[in-house]
Amino acid sequence: MCLAVPGKVLEVEERDGSRVARVEFGGITRLVQLDLVPEARVGDYVITHVGFAISRLDAEEADRTLRILKAMGLLESEERGAP
């Protein structure tokens, strides 16, 4: 029920007085309301739930933690002698 997925904002437009974005989710595009995340811009990733963006993904934060996690994964495989 609280399922929410990240997608990339391709386009932003006004519709019936609210901001709506065309957002791509792994090849599929859907219209997403930006009422709750008015700061979202083209190129941002937004996390979307029941047709509404609920957050703008913090790309810097995501890259930083992923780098740490990936380093951990590499180290671990080296220790185990795996590729």
Partner: protein, 365 residues
């Protein structure tokens, strides 16, 4: 998909498991609150991957599971009226009420439709000005701003034939109840990442302080959950009890202030009965009086009902992490997703349904 695939990386997951095995010295019992997280844990077999000292129990974070029987019965009453188009998220349709469910109401002639967004309900209302369109507004804090926004859109568009049957619930009062119970065994919580995306995590910091319990806001992919478990175990092993944020790519301490303001404008906090658990003070949201024209409870004269669960269903203990679904004698026998006895068997996020999908072999037929 970017920001999903990386968090399913097997190498990272293995490293996190190894790290966990090095850290853990004693048995610990952890609870993930959110049913979406329960689903990921079962689907990827994370409960079987982690060191055996760590036990995961599953929390009440499945809105479909905790929506009270009475609300389902009201929904069925409304959906059975000839002038009504009843609109709902799909999961609610097969949840048993005290006598029937919304699927049966539809079979009996009720116009019941499934949507994935509340805005589609508004569209239906615009297309059918001669009918009353009622949307079943359920969910946690994640969903409340979207449902609130739909009410605001309806008001702005002057839609007089749109109303909402609201049965929203809030997570922190339920955690407080679990922690206050003398039966509580949970030593650390994974807090729901999308609820906290909206609300931030200050309320959880207060719970950590008051009950001296570690809480980690977690995401929904396997790597997220393993990292959250790892952070919890580190705190427990070191004797710390803080709220930490694993899901920082989406969650900030303050949350989404715009979404909170919209919720606040449309809804007010009220006491709410949780299915399987009972009344929890100040744990629900209802529409503010100024939105009475869009409040299905005001628009329709509804019988007040109280209803009881089938005695056989252990959902109360399952939802509070006291029992595992496989402890229920009806599990997989008299209770299956095709013929659910209790709500946790309906939604894929319900603990019973998640076990049925991924752990059925654990019980002998």
């Amino acid at each position: 998909m970017k920001y999903i695939d990386e968090y399913r990386d097997e190498r990272i997951a293995r490293a996190l498991v190894a790290d966990l095995a090095r850290r853990v010295t004693r048995p610990w019992l952890l609870m993930e609150i959110c049913g979406g997280q329960t689903h990921t844990l079962m689907r990827y077999g994370i409960d079987e991957l982690i060191p055996p000292q760590i036990t995961l129990v599953h929390g009440p974070g499945c809105p479909v599971c905790v929506t009270p029987l009475e609300a389902i019965d009201k929904a069925i009453q409304i959906a059975s009226r000839p002038e009504v188009i009843f609109v709902s998220y799909g999961d609610m349709l097969r949840v048993p009420g005290s006598r029937s469910d919304l699927v049966q109401a539809r079979a009996a002639g009720g116009d019941v439709r499934v949507v994935y967004s509340p805005l589609e309900a508004l569209k239906i209302a615009r297309a059918h000005p001669e009918r009353q369109v009622v949307f079943f507004g359920i969910g946690f804090e994640t969903t409340a701003p979207a449902n609130a926004m739909a009410v605001l859109h309806a008001q702005r568009q002057g839609l007089r034939n749109f109303s909402m049957l609201v049965s929203h619930v809030l997570v922190p009062p339920a955690i407080r109840l679990l922690l206050s119970s003398p039966q509580n065994r949970v030593q650390g919580f994974i807090a729901p990442g999308h609820v906290c995306t909206v609300m931030g995590y200050r309320e959880y910091e207060a719970l950590s302080r008051e009950f001296h319990v570690p809480i980690v806001v977690g995401g929904f992919e396997p790597v997220d959950l393993l990292e959250a478990i790892s952070l919890l175990v580190a705190q427990l092993e070191e004797g710390r009890a803080e709220t930490e944020n694993q899901y920082a790519r989406s969650v900030t301490r303050e949350g989404n202030l715009q979404a909170q303001a919209i919720m606040e404008r449309v809804f007010e906090v009220c006491d709410r009965k949780w299915r399987g658990i009972g009344l929890i003070p100040r744990s629900g949201l209802r529409l503010r009086p100024e939105f009475a024209a869009h409040d299905a409870e005001k628009v329709f004269q509804l019988e007040e009902l109280t209803a009881e669960e089938p005695a056989e269903c252990l959902s109360a203990q399952v939802l509070q992490g006291l029992k595992k679904p496989t402890d229920c004698p009806a599990f997989g026998r008299r209770c299956t997703p095709a013929m659910p006895l209790g709500a946790p068997m309906v939604s894929a996020e319900g603990a019973c349904a998640a076990y049925y999908l991924y752990r059925r072999q654990a019980v002998a037929p």
